[in-house]
Structure formats: structure tokens, C-alpha cells
Amino acid sequence: MTDYWLSKLFFDLQNPAAAAEYRADRAKVLARYPLAQEVLEAIDRDDVGFLGRRVNPYLLRYYFGTAGMSDAVFLAKLHQTGKEPAHG
């Protein structure tokens, strides 16, 4: 299942200015996207598995890098999911 607006958020955050704004005021940026409550909650808890089932894996990686998660932590969380995201 592709979540267009979640994907759009992750795509837009590749822009350095948008990423800086997100790190400074996450709620303000998130308010611009019509995201479902369960998605907002997954973002809030850095739920790699939940979000990974809704976006392209490359965008997932970009997002967590932008959000400040180290590669080591990201990999550990991914490996814990034990499930393939919906995208190839």
C-alpha cells in the first residue's frame, strides 16, 4: 500500500531547507500533509516497520537519515521488523 502523502513528505524532506525546518519544528511541517492519525503516531515513535510498509524503501532510508537516525540504529530497526515493506 502506497501512502502518497507520507511519500510526499519524505520526498520533500530531501530539500535541505525543508529538512532543517522539520528538525526545528516537526509539528509545523507535518501539519501541511494530510496524514492519517496512525501515520502521525508512527512518525512520532520512529516506527520503521509501519512506515516502511507505506513508502518506497529508498524514501524510508532518506527520511530516517534526515530525521537524525544513524545507519546502525536504522538497520537494527529494519532487521527487527522481519517483514518486507510492500514496495520492491
Partner: protein, 274 residues
């Protein structure tokens, strides 16, 4: 008529650039040697234009408009936006006439590429070019291939695109223009999946063997059966298939292959027999 002078392939793992200083001296030496040999072969071929095949890593295109294949027809293209690629030129000269000829040849033969007059060339395009250290950077006709987001082109269609590129080069009217093809990406890797970091060396070795043997049917069958399971990044092998078909599917010379877990990629480097 233009002259098709060489076809080459190289992996493009972004951590080769981002984490270069974190790699061991031995690893840096291995990677530099492979790109260096590729660069020597490319320089010996002497291309004035490189048709470069690489995925777009969500830099130019998004879900709103996601072409299976896009031919760069611009006068110039932007250098990579990634912060770890600042050493690469900010602008890269294109070859609009050849790009347009490729697009027109494609349309005349019932292919429907997208075109772009100004692409941003991400690490996929630029890491091999930078590491190959060519004496001068030839003009580029960048071609993005959707290797990231399903649905993707069939392997059969990649073969068809490769043959089409060869015909487009052969029919380009500028006398003696020297043109090479560079395919980037692969081999096996997994990005943003639960298997991220895994490198399928058995797949890579079998894949290399199938390219070296050259024959279309076994290579197609192998990739259709095994590519998806070797990790989502492995879909970039499509670019190698296009170069392989353009070069006549006569097999290639492997310059180097090694699994490089530090950059999450089975790194391959090759030049095709012309």
C-alpha cells in the same frame, strides 16, 4: 555516422562517496583500482559523448510522474544534489542533438520515452564518473531508468532498449562522433528493506557468469527468476542489460567484483566486448 566505441558498467554505492574516509585503506585501494581500470578503458576508447544509464534516486521524479525511462536532451544538466558529492562539477554538458536523436529514433520504432531538457544527476550518475577520473569529462546523454519503484520495465524490454540505442548511435548523422555507454548500479544490494545490508554473492557470481556468456535467453531467464530476491537495489542490473544488448550481447570482461558490506553493495565493474 557516429561510432559506438565502448560499453561499460560500474556500481555506484553512495557510501563510496559519503563514507570514503571511513573505509580501510585496503578497501579504498580496491575500489580505486577498479574504477581506475574502468577509467583507463573508457579513456582508451576515447568517447566524445557518454550515454549514461542510471536510476533516478527520487531526485528528478516522484509518484506524480514516474517515467520508466527518460532521455536527457538538454544542453546541460545539474551536478549531484547530495551533500557528500560537492566535489563533482555543478553543471555537466549534455549533447542535445544526440539525445534528441535517441528520443526520435525511439519514437519512430514504437518506444515511448519521456524526455527531459534539464536533469539533476545524482550519485548514481556521478560517482562512477568522478572515480573513473577521466582526463576530461565527455558530454553526457543521461538516461534515467526506473529501477526503484514498481512496476518496472521487463528484462525483455531492456534488451530491446539496448538494441535501440545501438541503432540510434549507428544512425546519428554526425560523422565519426565517438559514443560510449556507461551503465551504473547493481549488483546485489538491499536498501530500506528488512534485508538491508545483505549482499547475495551467489546471485552476483551467477549474474556475472550470465553476462559473460552473453546469450539473451539464459540471462533473461536468470534475472527474471532471481533478481528481485537479491534485494531491491539489484533491479539496477536492468541498466547493465541495456548496455549488454547495445554492445551486441557478446559477453564482457569483468574488471572486478567484490562484496563490500561497508557500502552495502556487491560492487561490479565491467567492459563489454564490442
Amino acid at each position: 555516422m557516429a561510432e559506438f566505441v565502448g560499453a561499460f558498467a560500474a556500481s555506484h554505492a553512495p557510501l563510496i562517496a559519503r563514507d570514503w574516509d571511513k573505509l580501510s585503506a585496503e578497501r579504498r585501494g580496491q575500489i580505486s583500482a577498479a574504477y581506475g581500470e574502468l577509467g583507463r578503458r573508457m579513456a582508451a576508447a576515447g568517447p566524445e559523448v557518454i550515454i549514461e544509464l542510471s536510476p533516478d534516486h527520487w531526485v528528478n521524479f516522484f509518484l506524480d510522474n514516474l517515467p520508466s525511462i527518460c532521455v536527457g536532451v538538454g544542453e546541460s544538466h545539474d551536478g549531484p544534489p547530495e551533500p557528500f558529492m560537492k566535489s563533482f562539477p555543478r553543471s555537466v554538458p549534455g549533447h542535445p542533438a544526440l539525445g534528441r536523436h535517441i528520443a526520435e529514433t525511439a519514437l519512430a520504432e514504437d518506444f515511448e520515452p519521456s524526455i527531459s531538457h534539464h536533469l539533476k544527476l545524482d550519485h548514481g550518475f556521478c560517482i562512477p564518473l568522478e572515480r573513473m577520473a577521466l582526463p576530461t569529462l565527455p558530454r553526457l546523454v543521461p538516461i534515467t531508468v526506473n529501477d526503484l519503484e514498481p512496476p518496472m520495465m521487463s528484462i525483455r524490454r531492456c534488451f530491446a532498449w539496448g538494441r535501440l540505442l545501438a541503432r540510434a548511435i549507428a544512425s546519428y548523422p554526425e560523422k565519426d562522433l565517438r559514443v560510449a555507454i556507461l551503465a551504473t548500479g547493481g549488483l546485489s544490494h538491499s536498501i530500506g528493506e528488512s534485508t538491508m545490508g545483505a549482499i547475495d554473492e551467489a546471485f552476483d557470481r551467477d549474474c556475472i557468469r550470465a553476462f559473460a556468456d552473453g546469450a539473451e535467453a539464459p540471462l533473461t531467464q536468470f534475472l527474471e527468476a532471481h533478481m528481485a530476491a537479491a534485494g531491491n537495489g539489484t533491479h539496477e542490473v536492468r541498466n547493465w542489460v541495456i548496455a549488454h544488448a547495445a554492445a551486441g550481447a557478446r559477453g564482457f570482461d569483468l574488471i572486478d567484483y567484490r562484496a563490500v558490506p561497508e557500502v552495502y553493495v556487491g560492487c561490479g565493474f565491467a567492459s563489454w566486448r564490442m
